[in-house]
Amino acid sequence: MTSQREGWPKRLRDIMDGRPVRWAGSSNLVGDYDGRERTLEVFNADAKDQRMLVRRLRPVRDDLELAAGGPVIVIFHTSAESARLYGDFVQSALFDEATDDTAVEYDLPDDVRPLALDVELKERDGAKSGTGSTELPRVAA
């Protein structure tokens, strides 16, 4: 049960477009209520997106509650509150999410047809505006 439960934040992160998700720790919760230990926090979830996120939860809710051991309470934190109150966690979680795929290694066949060829560019010389390249780093193959 525990390992199933611990795997859910990552699964929900994918369902929620990469937003950080975690089980709420008791130190982050105020008050006592039934299901306190089954509280999920979703970050960077602004009001305009929350209804959509709730809809995405529906198909997995039964499995989620089975893993959690009962009904789950979901708390959405807006982007502003996520940054104000949970900045360290959010930054860390986003970094992990964003860089998750950078470590994937694969063999590249020799016959891959290129999209373009790269070109050498010059970056701006210090603060001297107008000294950097103004072209894309690729040209048609």
């Binding site: 994918d14 960077n44 970094f95 964003a98 950078t102 891959v112 999209l115 970056e123 103004t134 780093p137």
Partner: protein, 142 residues
């Protein structure tokens, strides 16, 4: 600003790398990226580049262009980069999309890796470079 990451392969040594570039446009804000700031017409001025494989004739096998206001909050940019692979849908040719103040374009050759994984990898390389962190581990494809 324009953030670009592109995976390149040397035609001679077959060495590979992901090069990342950062351009600026100036202190403009917008709800939708103006056509004047789309990269084909005006990528901006290059202010930083992180080079894994020296450019000049390498084959580009995937690229990700992201246009955003220069002053965008870093946490918002990071959230959107983390979300890209969940939001963009594959299409024929490069996939382009407007997303609030962002415009993105992802192109990918026929690679032996899922489309979303390559998109996530390029977005992740941008995050890595902007944060100053180094890649620290390697994971093989399943």
């Amino acid at each position: 600003m324009l953030l670009t990451a592109q995976r390149v392969v040397s035609p001679r040594s077959h060495a590979r790398g992901v090069n990342v570039y950062r351009y600026v446009h100036g202190p403009y804000t917008w709800e939708r990226v103006p056509n004047d700031f789309l990269p084909q017409g005006n990528p901006g001025e290059l202010i930083a580049q992180w080079i894994q494989l020296s450019p000049g004739g390498n084959r580009v096998v995937s690229f990700l262009d992201v246009v955003a206001p220069d002053e965008i909050e870093s946490v918002e940019l990071q959230q959107r980069l983390a979300s890209l692979k969940h939001r963009l849908q594959p299409s024929d040719g490069p996939t382009t999309a407007y997303w609030d103040p962002l415009w993105v374009c992802f192109g990918c050759a026929a690679l032996p890796v899922p489309w979303a994984t390559e998109l996530g990898a390029l977005a992740g390389h941008i995050v890595l470079r902007l944060s100053g962190a180094r890649q620290q581990f390697v994971r093989s494809t399943p």
